[in-house]
Amino acid sequence: MASRAPAATGRLLVGFRKWYYNACGFNKFGLMRDDTIMEDSDVKEAIRRLPEPVYNDRMFRIKRALDLSMKQQVLPKDQWTKFEEDFPYLEPYLEEVIREKKEKEEWAKK
């Protein structure tokens, strides 16, 4: 019984995360989570390091979302980004940029 409890909690958490993902609403514009991250200097550098196909896909999604927002529309439901299909494409590059920045700061202190 004790081994079933964490699985139930885990399913509950995933269910909540999925509900929250849909409540956020960016998927209705065809955006992924990493498309909505605010562009500070670290994020700008991470975007610069994206492979070209990934960058082009990002720009397409953002342009489409801006157009939909301007027309006060959303995509048809079958085109909404699904929770299972969303992946943090920017995260590895962002973590790399932040790691490099910290390393530079540590080096500058010496």
Partner: protein, 347 residues
């Protein structure tokens, strides 16, 4: 979206106020013996003076509707992250408030006199030089002729200071470009100002001018105080001294703190808190479009401001005192604690 129209609408409000104000200034006399009657003269004798005065008085209300909507847009969509533009905007808000305050004293009605007396007296809370400062502002030992003449001068001058501040505000905005409802980078999707935004702004102008003219013609005293139809009298105190509706939320905060200096600081910080919003931004997303938890907190803030506005117009007695105090704590709590916490949780 439509909420981006309020910037250009504020420009239109400023031009309207300056134009109507200049025409009012041609017939107004800033002396306590003739000030009130010169306004009556404008109303009754000057060609379309009644309309110019209506537009100027109600134009001030529309100015504040537009400025509060502009700030609300900035808070909701994270436009405050354009820090220079935002901080100049807060300075402009303070200037507009000062202009409206001194402008309300100009007609020299009962509420002009007593509202001016209450608010200028708050400066006596400044340590050591408080009383000297108040008498310096008054130009005498009470709100009197010296006060009226200089307040009229300040009112005229500040309008053009606001104009200059607006130019600087726009200069900084044009360095970055506008934000958008998605809070995403729109550099790859720009469209020309004309015809898209010229016609959009023109539609906004038509709607606002229609609203202003309707209010001025059909119901010009809807948001005014009847006490201001009585000439200012230092020997007769009105039972309920209160400012115009756009200052009531601050008045509610001021009166909630049972200490003069504390109340003044509460009033001051209720505006200056806007300057720390950018520093307290914790979310990875810019705006609230995709953040349901913080959206709830934003609308709680709007509701709180409506309650504080209501409280500011009520007498200082139970249960309005405790409601005002809870509202004031919630106001600062939302800005300083709850919204940053919401952003962190939603990360």
């Amino acid at each position: 979206s439509g909420v981006w129209n309020f910037g250009s609408l504020l420009g239109l409000c400023l031009i309207t106020q300056i134009l109507t104000g200049v025409f009012l200034g041609m017939d107004y006399t800033s002396d306590i013996s003739t000030g009130f009657s010169s306004v009556t003269h404008i109303w009754r004798d000057v060609n379309y003076g009644w309309l110019i005065r209506n537009l100027h008085g109600n134009g001030a209300s529309f100015f504040f509707i537009c400025i509060y909507m502009d700030i609300g847009r900035g808070l909701y969509y994270g436009s405050y992250l354009y820090k220079e533009t935002w901080n100049i905007g807060v300075v402009l808000l303070l200037l507009v408030m000062m202009t409206a305050f001194v402008g309300y004293v100009v007609p020299w009605g009962q509420m002009s006199f007593w509202g001016g007396t209450v608010i200028t007296n708050l400066l006596s809370g400044v340590p050591y030089m408080g009383n000297t400062l108040v008498q310096w502002i008054w130009g005498g030992f009470s709100v009197d002729n010296g006060t009226l003449t200089r307040f009229f001068g300040f009112h005229f001058l500040l309008a053009f200071v606001i104009g200059g501040g607006t130019v600087v505000h726009l200069l900084f905005l044009h360095e970055t470009g506008s934000n958008n409802p998605g809070g995403v980078n729109s550099d790859g999707d720009k469209i020309s100002f004309h015809p898209y935004f010229s016609y959009k702004d023109l539609l906004g102008f038509v709607i606002m001018l229609l609203g202003l003219t309707s209010l001025g013609v059909f119901s010009p005293n809807l948001v005014g105080d009847p006490e201001n139809f009585t000439p200012g009298n230092p020997l007769v105190t009105p039972p309920h001294i209160q400012p115009e509706w756009y200052f009531l939320f601050g008045y509610g905060i001021l009166r909630s703190i049972p200490n003069k200096v504390g109340g003044v600081l509460g009033l001051l910080f209720s505006i200056l808190v806007l300057m720390v919003v950018a520093i307290l931004h914790t979310s990875k997303q810019r705006g609230l479009t995709f953040r349901p938890v913080t959206q709830f907190l934003f609308w709680t803030l709007v509701g709180d401001m409506i309650i504080l506005t209501w409280i500011g117009g009520m007498p200082v007695e139970h249960p309005y005192i405790i409601i005002g105090q809870i509202g004031s704590v919630l106001y600062f709590g939302l800005f300083l604690v709850l919204v940053p916490l919401g952003g962190w949780v939603e990360n």
